[in-house]
Amino acid sequence: MRSTPLSINRTGAVLTALALLFLALVLGAAIGETAIPLDVVGKTIANRLWGAGYPLDAIDEGIIWNYRLSRAVVAACCGAALSLCGVVLQALLRNALADPYILGISAGASTGAVAVAILGIGAGMLTLSLGAFFGAVFAFALVSLLALRAGRGTGAIILAGVAGSQLFNALTSFIVTKSANAEQARGIMFWLLGNLSGVRWPDVTLALPVALGGLLVCLWHARALDAFTFGAESAASLGIPVKRVYVILISATALMTAVMVSIVGSIGFVGLVIPHAARFLVGVRHGLLLPAAALTGAIFMIAADILSRVIIPGQVLPIGVITALVGAPAFALILSRGRAAS
């Protein structure tokens, strides 16, 4: 739209954005415990994608392709998806503090994960990820049901989400304290804080379509999201089928979040902070805000992953620790800015 700051040249903006993303991915593959020169990264990508046939050290190529690149791509998808969810939920619920986990999804996922890992539910047939996914979907279903019964309005959804989160977090703690040994408890905590070390290409084939599909669904509804600026009744009077938009977009965000949480654990702050950062950069119109948030989220997450690998030599920090270390101060900034604005 013409009154947004970045309307000079659409094609130019899109190309710059893609270039930035590509650069982040390459850096994500190059930086790590063993630093690998950028040209080797480029050649590996060329070898694998186009069969370019450059002679390369097999170990370097293996590290780049099998570990770092898949990991960077999943980090990007996850950052993009969580940021999109944040933007959508903040707009629909008209609450600046809404994040992807406000619907109880991360709490449900952790309960699902511990149910599989500690209680052995699924008798070895279920992976941790699948357990987390089912937990997330179950929690979301419960929260939606509660919200519908509690009545209309966005307040009901938020309250139901808080209640659901408390319930599932309590269940998780209950299971962990009752049944887990010290090693299991540590493993679970590590998983809960977000962890990309186990990520391989099969995860990409799940994360990438979900993130791209999610982006398309959200973009399709960009004008509808704009129309919620003055609330749901105002949106309805502007021709938005409010109920249908709620159902589609909230289900889409729930699905995106559930998939991402099941792959990498519940990484906090990204979905809350990145949307605000993106608004700061490009304004509040969703046609621009959604792609900007997705891009910022993707790059932020790749950077956080790099940091988590190099900040303490020889040790990988949970990525959630990094996002929170950056996220918490940013969040404080938003709060103070919000007060100044009101």
């Binding site: 739209m1 009154s3 600026t229 609330g231 009077s237 021709g239 119109r285």
Partner: protein
């Protein structure tokens, strides 16, 4: 474009709030709705706008029930200015008006030069062109209200529904706004609380009381001393000019009037 409500009822909290209302809005007219607070004006306007489904009865646009019309279709013909619509988003005045184009734009159809012109004109109409770059939260209540009106004009409707549109405005802007709206080739339904504004600007006035329309007619038919006392509980003198227009002058209630005895009664109950 005709808008018609047939025995429309709506209830909330187990209470009937709009009670079997029949109302036909004539194409091109300015219809005022007056009535005390809580009489159901806002609720009726929401029903007419189709943003709340009636509990029974139908609202129809050009003979077609709103329930069978898509939201987008309705919004291309009917615009609504709500009594209260606020945001904490950091949008500019112009962006607020641009929202009015929503029902005319698809997910794939881009914003065009024409949309920009329509928004420019709408801003001009309400005298807010100079404010277009200002942030919403820096504007006064009256400026925000004028932007809401501009948004509804940018929607290019045939029917404009206004819920107490002159709240927050100074007298100059109250008159200016009603004059502006009246000058548009639009059918207007407006909930008004100033009876003299209703007398000056309306072709017809509907009186609401406890969810019902208790009277409907021209200003001179409707604004009588007896009715004003019956509906609003205020004593008033209605002066009439030779040209048929009327003017309502409120009288100060004298002591020992029913209002005071009401209060005393309530105190008695409390004890």
């Amino acid at each position: 474009m005709s808008l018609k409500a047939e025995t429309v009822s709506w209830s909330a909290g187990g209470r009937l709030i709009v009670d079997a209302v029949d109302l036909e809005v004539m194409p091109g007219e300015f219809l005022g709705i007056i009535g005390p607070n809580g009489s159901g004006k806002t609720s009726l306007i929401s029903l007419l706008a189709g943003i709340r489904p009636p509990k029974s009865g139908t609202v129809s646009l050009e003979g077609r029930p709103l329930a069978q019309t898509t939201r987008r279709d309705i919004a291309q013909h009917i615009a609504l200015v709500e009594q209260q619509a606020e945001t904490t988003e950091r949008i500019t005045a112009r962006q607020a008006v641009e929202l009015g184009r929503t029902p005319h734009l698809g997910a794939l159809s881009p914003w065009s030069r024409r949309d920009t012109d329509i928004v420019d004109r709408a801003l001009e109409h309400v005298g807010m062109s100079d404010f277009s770059g200002r942030m919403w939260h820096t504007l006064s209540g009256g400026e925000r209200q004028r932007l809401h009106i501009a948004r509804s004009l940018a929607q290019q409707p045939q029917i404009l529904l206004l819920d107490e549109p002159t709240n927050h405005l100074d007298i100059h802007h109250q008159i200016g706004l009603l004059e502006l709206v009246r000058g548009q080739p639009l059918t207007v339904v407006a909930a008004l609380h100033d009876l003299n504004h209703a007398a000056v600007f309306c072709d017809r006035i509907a009186v609401m009381d406890r969810g019902r329309i208790v009277a409907l007619g021209t200003p001179t038919e409707i604004l009588t001393e007896d009715r004003i006392f019956a509906v609003f509980g205020v004593a008033a003198t209605v002066e009439r000019d030779e040209d048929g227009s009327c003017f309502v002058r409120y009288r100060r209630p004298r002591p020992k009037l029913h209002l005071i005895s009401d209060t005393t009664k309530r105190h008695d109950h409390a004890r």
